[in-house]
């Protein structure tokens, strides 16, 4: 009797002790991580990036490690997807355990900067004068620069040369909205499908709508302007006429590309990152610049990641961090990054020239990137995500027929105004 009773007691005690042990292990683990940061002279630097597709054996990891070795330290790299990385970065900042270096999608820079968790490039003594202004803009908040783009990509209009030829459309004739819509009509009348794009209710939807929005001369501060309505009417018009499939409402950019690769579509809106895939398609694919409403090249939004250095408790670490960042942002470094990823356009004139010399076929993309515009520029900063959400909701409502373009954008403007004021 005593025996049986004592046993569970000891068990419980052991259990409780183990639990306490585990807990303290957890907390001491946290402390150790903090201690590492506090160590200053520690030789391990943490690095977060949004490329989970590149594992430890990839060229990219090799490149990151090489930069660490050059600075005489080991880099511990962790990859998340973009949204998770934003949340992780915020959480880490809250806990005071930020990594030494973060690579993150450019619209998130102003969001992170707004929290005060990032150092400015000035504090780091980094030179950003060579970086293209339109690309750097996404990292500038209230006159301070919080990161450096490691490369850039943007959108263009891919076409299927075979489909266009069959319909008798010359891609060079596409110079404005009118000629594009006419081309879509010809292609559709010929029995093929016109165009596919991404109208999904996420940031991707806004990303794809912006070239038309800006191409009409609209401004993100004024979502219900006649220009904005015209841009949205262009999209809804394509759906109504059957030039674009109804499913674009839920299309992500990946889906768009899969649809385009079937060879049924004349056109697709997609980015620099598909250059290799387009070259390997079963048909001949080409690109033209996205046209503005009345001609010219529409400013497409810039994509691509920024390299940032979060604030650390121990500022001695900054020295090495600066060396790592510099290693990633030299002209040679930019080209190397571009080659590692196959689709990145360097953000400096030198880097771009070097890349075009190596790969002349990327010339139109370099041109597109030069014309591109940061989503958070025009001093939108951390307001951009809010405005963007209102915008993609309006696009969804208009495309699905829940509201007219004008109604949808008026609602969006009201929402954006209340949310940002």
């Amino acid at each position: 009797m005593y025996h049986t009773r004592r046993k569970p007691t000891t068990l419980a005690a052991v259990g409780a002790l183990t639990l306490v042990g585990v807990l303290s292990a957890c907390s001491s683990g946290g402390a150790a991580a903090g201690g590492e940061t506090a160590g200053g002279g520690d030789a391990t630097y943490t690095w977060w990036d949004p490329y989970p597709q590149h594992d430890d054996s990839s060229d990219w990891t090799g490149r990151v490690q090489a930069c660490g070795e050059e600075a005489g330290v080991t880099i511990e790299r962790t990859a998340y997807d973009t949204t998770a990385l934003t949340n992780q970065a915020l959480l880490a900042a809250q806990e005071g355990t930020s990594p030494d270096v973060i690579l993150l999608d450019n619209p998130a820079v102003s969001t992170l900067a707004d929290t005060g968790m990032l150092t400015t490039v000035e504090e780091f003594g980094l030179d950003t004068s060579a970086i293209d202004e339109n690309l750097l803009a996404a990292g500038v908040v209230d006159g301070e620069t919080y990161g450096i783009p490691i490369g850039a990509n943007t959108l263009s209009l891919y076409y299927n040369a075979e489909v266009l030829e069959a319909a008798g459309v010359d891609p060079a004739s596409i110079t404005d909205w009118e000629s594009l819509t006419a081309a879509l009509k010809t292609v559709t009348d010929n029995g093929d499908k016109g165009i596919t794009f991404a109208g999904i209710g996420t940031e991707e939807g806004s990303f794809q709508f912006l070239p038309w929005f800006w191409g009409a001369g609209a401004d993100l501060r004024d979502l219900d302007s006649p220009e904005a309505v015209a841009a949205l009417e262009l999209w809804t018009g394509w759906l109504e006429e059957g030039y674009a499939p109804n499913s674009v409402i839920n299309n992500s950019q990946n889906t768009v590309w899969e649809e385009f690769l079937t060879g049924d579509f004349g056109f697709a809106v997609n980015g620099t990152w598909q250059v290799d895939s387009a070259a390997g398609a079963d048909f001949e694919a080409g690109t033209v610049q996205l046209p503005g409403r009345d001609g010219g090249v529409a400013p497409a939004p810039t994509g691509g990641e920024f390299i940032m250095a979060p604030v650390q408790e121990v500022t001695e670490r900054y020295d090495v961090t600066r060396q790592i960042v510099e290693c990633m942002t030299t002209p040679e470094g930019f080209v190397e990054t571009a080659n590692t990823f196959a689709y990145y356009v360097p953000p400096t004139a030198d880097g771009q020239a070097a890349l075009v010399e190596e790969k002349p076929e990327l010339e139109p993309w370099v041109e597109a990137v030069r014309n591109a515009k940061g989503r958070t520029s025009d001093d939108l900063g951390a307001d951009y995500p809010v405005i963007s959400e209102a915008l993609w909701t309006a696009v969804q409502n208009a495309l699905s027929g829940a509201a007219t373009p004008e109604e949808a954008l008026t609602t969006a403007q009201t929402e954006a105004e209340t949310a940002t004021s």
Binding site: P8, A16, L90, P245, N246, S247, N250, N397
Partner: protein, 321 residues
């Protein structure tokens, strides 16, 4: 569990009263109390860590104005119920509430009805019934991302198999996921399909507990299968049904994944439920908005709690009668 242990230990000294009483007595209660605490400690620590703290944190988030800056710097302003007021006055709120109600009620009614029909069907234990029953579990075994994506492809407006079948019979193209009229219906259908196995399994095991003699007696009295179902199966299955429906309700209230993968709550707000709304505010945009998200989340917890208490109440009344 803790109380019985405490009682057992407290009773121990009286069993050994031949020993000198004083020191024993004094140490006795202390030891037993410590034992009791020792037993309860792991559970308490677990509860506090994994239930009380997250819940408290959720409430804390919802009564402060956590902009991302405040989130990082930890100096969020206390705003009381302002965030709740914002949620209630938002134009999304009535839509989300209505969608949640429709999605939940329609889902569990059909899941339960189909699950029960299948359970009764499989009860007769014909050949291959085991294999067939196993096949009905497939929706449960597949990762949600797989089944939801498959549904999204099947219901695709232009290339989906559902529309191509409709077209083969001369029907018109239905924009299942991209029209505000059918988006909610589409995600509900997918969710019903996902929930059937759960209902089938629980109701089937409930059926095993109904003794066969009851049916024998009923058939001797001349009751047909229909009469047997309504007079025996259904009433005797009531406790199992109640718990199935309650669990189904709680599962369905908090469904995010299926809807998010199929429509992201769109087009517009057409298939946005409270759970989707909460998720979208917190993680769906580039700008995490934790306070309203937590407020909507708390609202969901409250709704689930109300139904949980309702269930307890019903159960108590059943036991009393």
């Amino acid at each position: 569990m803790t109380t019985t242990e405490a009682l057992a230990t407290a009773g121990a000294p009286s069993g050994v009263d031949r020993q000198p009483p004083r020191p024993r007595r004094r140490r006795g209660p202390a030891v037993s109390q410590w034992t009791a605490v020792g037993f309860a400690a792991p559970l308490l620590v677990y509860l506090i860590l994994f239930y009380v703290y997250p819940l408290w944190r959720n409430i804390d988030l919802s009564v402060h104005d956590y902009t991302i800056r405040a989130f990082v710097q930890g100096n969020a302003e206390f705003v009381g119920f302002e965030k709740y007021a914002e949620v209630f006055s938002s134009s999304t709120f009535p839509t989300a509430l209505w969608n949640t109600a429709v999605f939940t009620v329609v889902s569990i009614v059909f899941q339960y009805a189909i699950g029960l029909a299948l359970a009764v069907f499989f009860r007769s234990g014909f050949r291959l019934s085991g294999l067939l029953r196993a096949m009905f579990l497939v929706p449960w075994l597949l990762p949600l991302i797989v089944s939801a994506s498959t549904w999204a492809w099947m219901l695709n407006s232009d290339n989906g198999i559902v529309n191509s079948v409709l077209a083969a019979f001369g029907g018109e193209q239905i924009n299942w996921l991209t029209s505000p009229d059918t988006a909610l219906l589409s995600v509900t259908i997918a969710n019903i399909w996902l929930g059937i196995p759960f209902n089938l399994v629980i109701l089937y095991s409930g059926l095993q507990n109904i003794p066969g003699e009851v049916y024998e007696a009923a058939s001797l009295d001349g009751a047909g299968p229909w009469k047997q179902f309504w007079s025996i199966t259904f009433p005797l299955l009531r406790p199992v049904s109640a718990i199935t429906l309650l669990l189904g309700l709680i599962y369905t209230l908090k469904v995010v994944d299926v809807i998010w993968i199929m429509t992201t709550g769109g087009p517009g707000d057409a298939s946005t439920t409270l759970a989707i709304w909460s998720y979208r505010e917190a993680f769906g945009t580039g700008q995490p908005d934790f306070s309203p998200a937590a407020a909507v989340g708390n609202l969901l917890i409250l709704i689930a709690l109300v139904f949980g208490f309702l269930h307890l109440q019903l159960q108590r009344r059943q036991e009393d009668s």
